[in-house]
Symmetry: C2
Amino acid sequence: MDRTAKLTPKGEATRRRIIAGAAQQLRDFGVADTTLDDVRARTSTSKSQLFHYFPGGREELLLAVARYEAERVLTDQDPYLSELTSWAAWGRWRDAVIARYRAQGPNCPLAALMSQVRQTQGAGEVTTVLLAQWADKLAAGVVAMQRLGKVRTGLDPRRTAQAIVALIQGGVAVLMATGRIDHLEAAMDLALNYLRSQAPGSRR
Amino acid sequence: MDRTAKLTPKGEATRRRIIAGAAQQLRDFGVADTTLDDVRARTSTSKSQLFHYFPGGREELLLAVARYEAERVLTDQDPYLSELTSWAAWGRWRDAVIARYRAQGPNCPLAALMSQVRQTQGAGEVTTVLLAQWADKLAAGVVAMQRLGKVRTGLDPRRTAQAIVALIQGGVAVLMATGRIDHLEAAMDLALNYLRSQAPGSRR
């Protein structure tokens, strides 16, 4: 990350282009079957260029792609995830999440990457940051509904958001293990029904 | 599994003893660092004995241990999981699940095993069967609460059970990735609060 800060805007753009190309290569062919030469060919990059941007080699590139895929998890849910200001918006967000994971199927590119870079310094941070940002956005959505008077103010937005992030992870874990998406659908419906049940004046 | 059917009761007991010993060895030292010789030493088994019970060698043994660990996931939740017949019982079950995963920490033996045997025939079935049995037991708990008049009969027990299984998986996935158990706690509280909100005569 420090190294990125030193790049020129043009250098940063090239680095970003290599990461995006590598990400697509990994999505198409899998982490195990992709070499640095494959990435070079896909992104029209010389060996020296690749090592200029990723002096740590394959591990550093994979970690950068993992960060990129983690960002995509969130941007794939936008604009819905950032505008959870009505029940209709929550419903659209739910549909977007289901559609994303249905399209992705049992092969999660981020999970595949994380299994490869788990020992790399900074790897744990990728997941932690992603989950925290995800929970932040959902908590903002809960707060928005509280301000609109749709959800009781006694409900803890952070804890509720953490629970929703967890149940999405769980639905995706089941999808990856069994190829079935119905757990994810059921879990998201439970979350939304729960939120709706937390109207001001409800029993708890 | 067919082979198991042909074993004598004594043979079955020996096979079971090897699996239990191997499971403990794997829990103590990890899948990657455990050899068949380690398992032989731990279980006082000869090479020929080991191959009599696991002719497929290491892979077959690992898969058998994965099945054993999958069973343990459920038995660790008993007697609570099998007797979800009051809100107090649901609460005790929740506490038992949290305690189990808190004790286990970020290293899930079943996940470690599954990552090793993923390519082995029958591996996918282990997770699928575990999740289905888990959901069956939770669905039975929802039905019990419906019969007691505590939960409205319009709530789909199977779908609710699948959602709860998913959110536990998610909480555990976050625990494995970040070492934090609060997502699991939040997710289980959400599930239980949701169920309690589904009283007969509630708005939905």
